[in-house]
Every structure is written in C-alpha cells, then in structure tokens.
C-alpha cells in the first residue's frame, strides 16, 4: 500500500505519563475513505492515540503523518483532522449556527460561503432549521449531530471520533451507528473511531485495530479479527472465546498436531508461527455443537464432557461443559427443533467442532 495515499499514518508512537506508559510503539495506517475503529478496554490508550493524532497530546516518541505530511510538531489548530468528542463539548455560548460556523470563521471565509457551508453541513446531519437553537436546548443525539456537523463542515482529511455514542441510550446508539455509517459513505472521508463496544466496532468498521495496555494487538477486517484472533486478549475481548491450553506434538506443511484435552487434533496454522511445545487455542462458543452421541465423522473434533450449567438467554442458550479439568462454553441459538431443551445438568454430552474452528494463538 502506498503510504502517500493514507489519510493518517502513525509510526512507533510512544506516550508516557510519569511511570505509566499509555502508548508503546504503536504504528497504524488509516486509508483514505476508510472507516477504522480503535477497539480496546478503558485505559488501553486508544483515546490517547486519538489525541496524539489530533495534536492535543505530544508523543514522547514516534511520528504522525496526515495525508503523507509529517505533522508531529504541528499544533492542533493547523492539522486537517477534526474531532468529535465523547461529551460533544459544544460551545455553550454559541447557538447551533455559530457552533458549526466556528471553524469556518477561523478561516476568514466570506459570509455567504460560511452560510452556504453551514446549511449544507446541517442538512447532512439532518438538523436543518436548528440554526437558532442553543446547545443546552438539544437532546444528546442532536448535540452529537451538531458536533459532527461542526467537524465535517471543515472537510477534514479524517474525522476522529472519541466514543461518540457512549453517552447515548441503547435505542439512540443503534440509530446513530447507522447514521455514522451513512455519513461516512456520503462524505467519503476517513473515520477513525474510538470505542470499547465490540458490537459497534464490528458493525461499522472496514477494519478494526484492537488495542490493549498501550499496544496494538491486531488489525484487520472485522471478519479477520473475529475469526482469526491473534492473541487470547483479542479472542476474549472481541466476542466470547474458549481459550484452551494445547500441547504441540508435531508440525508439518503449515499444519500442527496438537494434544487437546486428551485428544490428538490436526489444526491448520494459517501461516501463524508458533514456538515451543505449548500453545493456546481459541474456539468460539457458537462454533461448537452439543450432541448426546458422538457422530460417525472423522473430520470433526469430538470431546466428551459433562454439562455443569445451563443459561437460557432468550435468543440463545449458554452451556458450561466440563471436559477433563477444562471448562468449555457452548452457545446454541434457540431455533425451533433445537435439541438444546433435551440436555440437563450433569448429563454426559459430546462437543463437536470442525478443525478449522480452532485458532492457534500466538502469545
């Protein structure tokens, strides 16, 4: 990928606050027109990274490029990226029109040009007619839209969004997610979204960058990151996963022979490098099927276990099954004719899954 075309490029950015390291050598690239999400738990450093890109924090080490240009030493007000903050922070002493016009007035554009662009921006976020309203008169969702319009009106290289939906209630959040996606397609600029909500990340992003303890864990399309998590952290943070210890018995032709819960399983490595004699593997709970009897198929991994706990959750049922000294979680959707109702606590069952569902993790 040609670096000159990327909207944002971050190289080896490190940020420390005293003894605490908020970011450790993070490198990342956001393509033009891409929707990239920084996903991580609170305190993982994702907001710090956003602030470094906006210019509100200086990195202790590393460089930041916007549109191919090194802006590490450029103050925030001369960077062509704009931020939508978590609490929107509209200017309380300015009405909606003046809030949106703020950045344009800074550029000393003509009055008519400002009026035209503010009107267009408000229409984009569906707030036409709100010009004379004050921020304190608006609902959370409306304030959010004003914050979006205020940033988008400046036609930035990229839009930075710091947990923009966190303060909204569930219903509104879903609505705004769709709205964000629509906006991003419509304006075609890069969006860099910070969130701790994995569902939001999966639904909105072209790519997800998972970040934890100030380090980039994995970056890829939602499907890649979910289906082939690289680390135990990614596997369990993005969705649920059973992380099991396995013994590496043999390696050949990109496959590995693993000793897993007393069984020997051949697993594709998918180009992943593993070292030593032990490894962790991840299996998603919904990729495991529960059966009363083992199936006559050799292409499946089949383990025998005992049901310890059954949780009915409406759309699905969660099972906790003891296999040897391990516990495995299984999720089955409650479809009509599902066998799930038949199983009882303490019952002996067989867990079945395909070899491809096993993901070997690197540490």
């Amino acid at each position: 990928m040609a670096t000159a075309t990327s909207a944002i490029r971050v190289e080896g950015v490190t940020k420390r606050y005293g003894a605490v390291t908020a970011l450790e050598a993070v490198s990342l690239e956001v393509e033009r027109g891409e929707f990239l999400t920084l996903l991580g738990p609170s305190g993982s450093g994702k907001t710090t990274l956003l602030r470094v890109i906006a210019g509100l924090e200086r990195p202790d080490d590393g460089r930041v490029y916007l549109g191919g240009e090194d802006v590490t030493d450029v103050p925030p007000y001369r960077r062509r990226v704009h931020t939508v903050f978590q609490q929107y922070v509209l200017f309380p002493h300015l009405n909606v029109y003046r809030n949106v016009a703020f950045g344009l007035e800074q550029k000393r554009l003509s009055r008519r040009e400002i009026e035209r662009r503010v009107a267009a921006a408000l229409e984009l976020v569906r707030l036409s007619g709100y010009e004379r309203r004050w921020p304190h008169e608006l609902s959370g969702g409306e304030q959010q839209r004003v914050a979006l319009a205020r940033a988008l009106v400046l036609e930035p290289e990229a839009l930075l969004l710091d947990e923009p939906l966190a303060a909204l209630d569930l219903q509104l959040r879903k609505e705004m997610q769709r709205e964000l996606k629509r906006l991003q397609r419509e304006v075609g600029i890069s969006f860099l979204l910070v969130t701790h909500d994995q569902e939001e990340a999966l639904a909105l992003s072209d790519r997800i960058a998972v970040i934890a303890d100030g380090r980039l864990q994995q970056i890829g399309t939602p499907r890649e990151v979910y289906e082939r998590p690289e680390t135990a952290f990614v596997a369990t943070f993005l969705g649920a996963a059973n992380v099991l210890e396995a013994e590496i018995l043999h390696r050949e032709n990109g496959d590995a022979l693993l000793g897993l819960c007393g069984h020997t399983v051949r697993v594709p490595l998918n180009g992943r490098r593993i070292e030593g004699s032990r490894a962790q593997v991840a299996i998603r709970p919904e990729k495991i099927a529960l059966r009363a009897r083992p199936l006559r198929r050799t292409d499946l991994v089949q383990l025998e276990g005992v049901i310890e706990e059954c949780l009915y959750l409406g759309e699905a049922t969660h099972w906790r099954v003891r296999v040897g000294e391990h516990y495995v979680t299984v999720t089955e959707p409650n479809r009509p004719g599902s066998k799930a109702d038949a199983f009882r606590d303490g019952q002996r069952v067989f867990l079945c899954w395909t070899r491809e569902s096993i993901v070997v993790l690197s540490r």
Partner: protein
Amino acid sequence: MRETNANRWLLLAPSALWLLLFFLLPLGLIVVMSFAERGLYGGVRWTFGLWNYRQAMAPLYLWVYGRSFALAAVTTALCLVVSYPVAYYIALRADPKWKNLLLVLSILPFWTSFLLRTYAWMFLLRVEGFVNTTLLALGVIERPISWLLYSDFAVVIGQVYGELPFMILPLYVALERVDVRVMEAAMDLGANRRQVFWRIVLPLTRPGIITGIVLVFIPSLGAFITPDLLGGAKSAMIGTVIQNQFVQRNQPMGSALSVLLVVVVLALLWIASRTARSRRGR
C-alpha cells in the same frame, strides 16, 4: 422535609430585621434629609424642597462626580487587566494542588487592616519614601518625584491595590468553570491560543467579568478613605466631598449628594444586569 411558612419567616427574621434597622432605615433617613435644609448653626431644619439637588447640579459638584467616575473607571480597568492573568493562571494553568494556596496568597494582604495598608502605601510613595530613595540611589532620577503621593496617581494605585481581591475572586470562579475540553475543541477546530481566548474563554467568563467590574467600580466610586489619605487636598472625590459635608454639619447637602450617588449606582447595576443577561449560554 418541608419547611412550614412560620419556620421560613423565623429563619428570615434576623437578617430582615438587621437590614431594616441598619440599612433601610438610615437610607430612608438620608433620602428624607436630602430634601431638608441646613440649620443656621448646623443641624437640620425640617423644611422640604429641592434646593440641595439644585445645588448638587452646580458645575463644581458635577466636575467632582465626573472625576470620581473617571478615577473609578481607571481603577476598575486596571484591576481587570491585572487580575485576569492572575485568575487565569490559578484557575487553568496552576497545578491543582497549589490552587488554593495561590488563591489564599493573592488575598493574603487583605487580612491586615485596610488603614494600615494605606499608611504603608504612604510610606512607600512619599517624597522621601522607599520608591523615591531607591530610584535616587540607583540614579534613575535626580530629584524625588513629587506626584507619587497626594495625587490621582496615588489614589488609583491605592484603590487598585485595595479592590484587587474583589476582581480576582469572581474572575477565578468564572475561569474555574470553563471546561478545558471546550477549549480543546476550539483548538481542534482551528483556533490558535489567542483565538481560543477571545472567542471562547473571554465570552464564557463574561458573567465573572461583570461581577468583578460591579464589585470594584461601585466601592471605588464612593470611596473616601483612600482618596482622603493618598489623594491629599487637591484630589477631591465624591466620597470625600460627601464626608466633608457631614463633618461640616451640612447633613442635608451630604444626603442629597449621597442619594444622587445611589441613583447613579443603581442605574449602573441595572445596566450591568441587563448586559449579563442579554446573551444566554447555559
């Protein structure tokens, strides 16, 4: 818990009584007296008319009012210019753990007697005072500066010094409330530090500025101790003139001048509250 009506009145009673006895009653007396006549040998003759007010409109008094106005305005402006950076630094720049200490330090001098501090200024500013002797010793000047004390300059210095905390505190309160994230948002949208100040911080602290102006301007307008001690005979202010009227036993005239001052102050307060309300934020 709901308060009964009787309870509420009981709570209000002491302060209401206090205001009535020591504020409203004397004020009423002054208003009544301002329409009375000076007795032949001092004292008050209770015949009523507008003569005191007619006399108060004489050019001499108007000139004194004007001077007081101008000096109070200069005092207020200087207070604002000096206080704003101090309050800004304490509220937004200083390490939070030092904030309270810095605030206390900035008003520490005001824990000693006002009179004492005014005498200290006289000691500093007089012809053979600290400022003159230092400048002489350093060779900056050849002869002592005579206008340091007993001048408008001295009055303004003394007033600014005396009123400073009444400007710093409301400004500090207003600046403290400014959300740093709002400033960051402005910077993110292309405003440099100066523009953030003029377009965000200053408008958001307007209520504090107006409060500070009111708190400094009004006492400055009627001040009489500082002008009396530091201004000398030439520097007449309305406060000293009113005081003189009372000392010289022309109480009706002093009352009329006082009432006029109160009217002017009320008018200014009304304007201030209008401007504070005219633009609504939160």
